[in-house]
């Protein structure tokens, strides 16, 4: 009984997750729980397995061992149900260059079976601040605009959970600031967000919780309330190195 209720209170519930690529083990018995509405920044050195972990949460990669539940549905068995409740932004835009922003969104709206497509597409374009360029080819967009549109694509079907994989990669300062505005907007609607990042300062501004992924497990986890922004770097180093010593 308590088992079920504890599972229901977690929108993301990962237990003893192991992921192997051939003989190489990337994730080694990782545990990870997220409450509804949390904004988790997933930090960690390069090659720690952040992207691998996010791809598993996104249903794009199968776990080798362990249990992954999102909104109560198991992966990979109930992948379709999970996909309906999930939005993903990767460091690639997942958009077609030869279609306009509107056409891209309309295409994905059809794939997700979004009702009242035209209205929803207009709404999302407004949300990410691209309504004025909706009829331009995505090919002509700057990197920052493509990334904003990618976020629009991810929230088109109003998902409960949104995953961001290094959303700031390759963006300049202005584009980053604009992106942060959109990220806040997305998170403010009661959604659960998991974002990987290696940019500590950016993560510090956005997240409500900081987890460090190191050597295939969550090495440390701290809520925002318990931490001073200035201490974040020290915390991160300690967590990442602590495991290496052990």
């Amino acid at each position: 009984m308590s088992e079920i209720s504890s599972q229901n209170s977690h929108v993301i519930d990962v237990r003893k997750l192991v992921k192997r690529f051939g003989l190489k083990t990337v994730l080694r018995g990782l545990d990870f729980q997220v409450q509804p509405g949390e904004f988790v920044a997933l930090l960690g050195p390069n090659g720690a397995g952040k992207t691998t972990f996010l791809r598993i949460l996104a249903s794009l990669s199968r776990p080798s061992l362990g249990e992954v539940r999102i909104a109560g549905y198991r992966l990979p068995a109930q992948a379709a149900a999970v996909r309906r409740r999930l939005g993903v932004v990767s460091h690639l835009p997942l958009l077609y260059g030869d279609l306009t922003a509107e056409e891209n969104l309309r295409f994905y709206a059809r794939m997700y079976g979004v009702p009242e497509r035209t209205e929803r597409v207009a709404e999302v374009l407004e949300l990410v601040g691209l309504a004025y360029r909706g009829r331009d080819l995505v090919r002509t967009y700057s990197r920052g605009m493509q990334q904003r549109l990618a976020i629009g694509r991810a929230v088109l079907h109003d998902p409960e959970v949104v995953l961001f994989d290094e959303p700031h990669t390759g963006l300049d300062q202005d584009a980053c600031n604009m992106l942060d505005g959109v990220l806040r907007e997305v998170a403010a609607r009661g959604r659960t967000v998991v974002m990987t990042s290696h940019d500590l300062a950016r993560a510090a501004d956005l997240a409500s919780r900081f987890d460090v992924l190191s050597r295939g497990v969550i090495a440390a986890s701290l809520p925002r309330a318990e931490i001073d922004t200035r201490d974040l770097l020290a915390f991160y180093r300690q967590a990442a190195e602590g495991v290496m010593v052990a």
Partner: protein, 232 residues
């Protein structure tokens, strides 16, 4: 390192003995064919390698299905081993076919349906090896390999059918209705015995080689594992 299994050593010896006996039967037990003469003796090993090679490709396809169902990497090792050995067996088949074709049909190469199919099959599985070479992620390599062995094996009968249809509708360049007719002969009981014994021999040789190759694959995996351990 795991020691060589005893039964494998025994199998090796059996293969060697069988091969010598089969060779003896081909040259001394089977009678010389009246029309074609001594060159007809190539036929026994030719048919045997072809049969066993084809079974090997089938085994690779079956192992491919088993891999897709179980995701157990041992099936991938089996599949690759079977393809590699069968490729060599088929190559022997084609060479021997050419040796036979020269006196029987007066040419080293003919677009006879079985010969042509054998060549296309070689190309299919050469493509399989190239596909594997192009993929870094071992799981993806195994998955794609499994899919391709299945496609390849399904295509073989269809290819054979299409080439045979091609030949029967068009008269051949040799002026006979079927190029096989030129090489036809009736088998005496001792010929048939030699053929069956050759097929048996090559089946045993195939199993022995397959076992060796699977062991090699496992050892390679172990080496890789140790290397990863050191790297950490």
């Amino acid at each position: 390192m795991e020691p060589k299994p005893r039964f494998l050593t025994i199998l090796d010896s059996i293969s060697a003995v069988l091969f010598v006996v089969a060779l003896g039967m081909v040259f001394f037990y089977a009678p010389t064919e009246r029309v074609m003469g001594a060159v007809q003796r190539v036929f026994y090993f030719h048919v045997a390698t072809a049969w066993v090679g084809m079974l090997g490709f089938m085994a690779a396809g079956v192992a491919g299905v088993a891999y897709l169902r179980s995701s157990d990497r041992k099936w991938d090792t089996v599949s690759l081993a079977a393809v590699e050995i069968s490729l060599v067996f088929f190559f022997i088949t084609i060479i021997m076919g050419s040796i036979w074709a020269r006196p029987a049909w007066g040419t080293w190469w003919t677009w006879e349906p079985r010969l042509t199919t054998a060549t296309i099959v070689e190309l299919v599985y050469a493509a399989y090896l190239m596909l594997r070479q192009g993929i870094e992620d071992p799981d993806r390599r195994a998955r794609f390999g499994a899919v391709y062995t299945i496609l390849g094996f399904i295509s073989v009968p269809v290819t054979f059918l299409s080439i045979r249809l091609y030949r029967t509708i068009h008269p051949t360049v040799f002026g006979v209705s079927s190029p096989e007719a030129e090489g036809e002969f009736s088998m005496t009981p001792s010929m048939l015995q030699t053929l069956i014994f050759s097929v048996l021999t090559f089946s045993v040789i195939f199993s022995s080689l397959l076992w060796h190759r699977i062991r090699l694959g496992r050892l390679a995996e172990k080496v890789e594992q140790l290397r990863l351990k050191i790297a950490h």
